[in-house]
Assembly symmetry: C2
Homo-oligomer: 196 residues x 2
DNA sequence: GTCTATAAAGCGATAGAC
DNA sequence: GTCTATCGCTTTATAGAC
């Protein structure tokens, strides 16, 4: 019989979802065990450092995902406009059109910011910087690019707060639509919105 | 000797600050007792319903403050442009230029949204509606007013997330500056920024 | 109105059998 | 690798003295 779980990677998404929905303090080991289907023994086998190490691993995985799928393309893609549109589609998809919240934003607002301060800071700083670079390569002035990038990242986070508060995911969809116009000068394509 | 505490009103601000900084789950009665200088006995004397009643009272107080100082003026002020500028100044002041976080935003992102869903929803819905009404009275089309209002409220929340994540309150100040231009067509006045 | 003592439950974490 | 049992601590909440 193959082992039930090959490594941390198999259960990280489930753990991430618990932290995302309940925050660091609210994510009890009982909940995590329930969601992953593992007992505490197994959890501590994979994460000897306990809850702290689980959260750090989740943050690292999310960070790597954004680096690979959003920050990297924004910095490197030959056509910055294409990368920006792709970023908006990826954002819509990742946050399930507002049905999912940003775990790192949740951590930023609570006690977890003190625990994982540099990871939280780095994530947002690199998002803003990568987007600013794309905007600059697309022809914007450096200072305007930076301001637009900061505005867009803040708007995404605020859109998630609003969508969850109003229990209306369309508030997030509308936010993404406004950002698209601000950044690209055009509405989001129906194709991008449908596939997301 | 006068009683140490006349009523709930005296200690609500201290309790609010604990919820704001630690979230609902993180705000333990031990912390609240420490911050208010009261033992559990006194806390349960004022709030027989315990932590849940404390949070509800804090939400109600915050809601009343925003209703009186921001939503009301936005709806009623004879000059909507003046009310909008005043709202931005009040926002800057209330959130300590980004040094303070929005308790209702924190609740919205976490488990507390399920507990206090209607209060959270109502707060944000009325903020957007009141601002939209002011913009409409100022001459905007209804649909444009509503979109701008939603954009501004989301930007404020996102600016708070960003400022706290980056540990840089100026990220919030810059956000408010951009909102001012979007809503009023003019930068925030130096007077308003200084007095905030 | 404020306190201490205490109850009952849940928490993160550990130990050790299998 | 997975489990159960358990430890020690903190949690919310209550009881009752003053």
């Amino acid at each position: 019989m193959p082992r039930a779980v090959a490594g941390r990677g198999d259960i990280l998404p489930a753990i991430a979802e618990v932290f995302r929905e309940h925050g660091y303090e609210g994510a009890s080991l009982a909940l995590i065990g329930q969601r992953t289907g593992l007992g505490k023994g197994s959890l501590y086998h994979f994460f000897p450092g306990g809850k702290d190490e689980m959260a750090a691993a989740v943050l690292a995985e999310i960070d790597a995902w954004f680096e690979a799928h959003m920050f990297g393309p924004l910095r490197d893609h030959a056509e910055p406009d294409v990368a920006i549109v792709a970023m908006l589609d990826a954002t819509d998809s990742y946050f399930r059109s507002g049905g999912r919240v940003c775990l790192i934003g949740v951590f930023a607002l609570g006690d977890a910011r003190d625990r994982f301060g540099s990871a939280v800071q780095s994530y947002f700083a690199r998002w803003v910087e990568a987007l600013a670079e794309a905007l600059q390569r697309g022809g914007r002035e450096p200072s305007a690019a930076r301001a637009l990038a900061e505005e867009a990242v803040a708007a995404i986070q605020g859109g998630l707060v609003l969508a969850r508060a109003l229990q209306d995911t369309e508030a997030f969809t509308r936010t993404l639509g406004r950002i698209a116009i601000t950044l690209t000068g055009r509405p989001r394509s129906a194709a991008g919105m449908a596939s997301a």
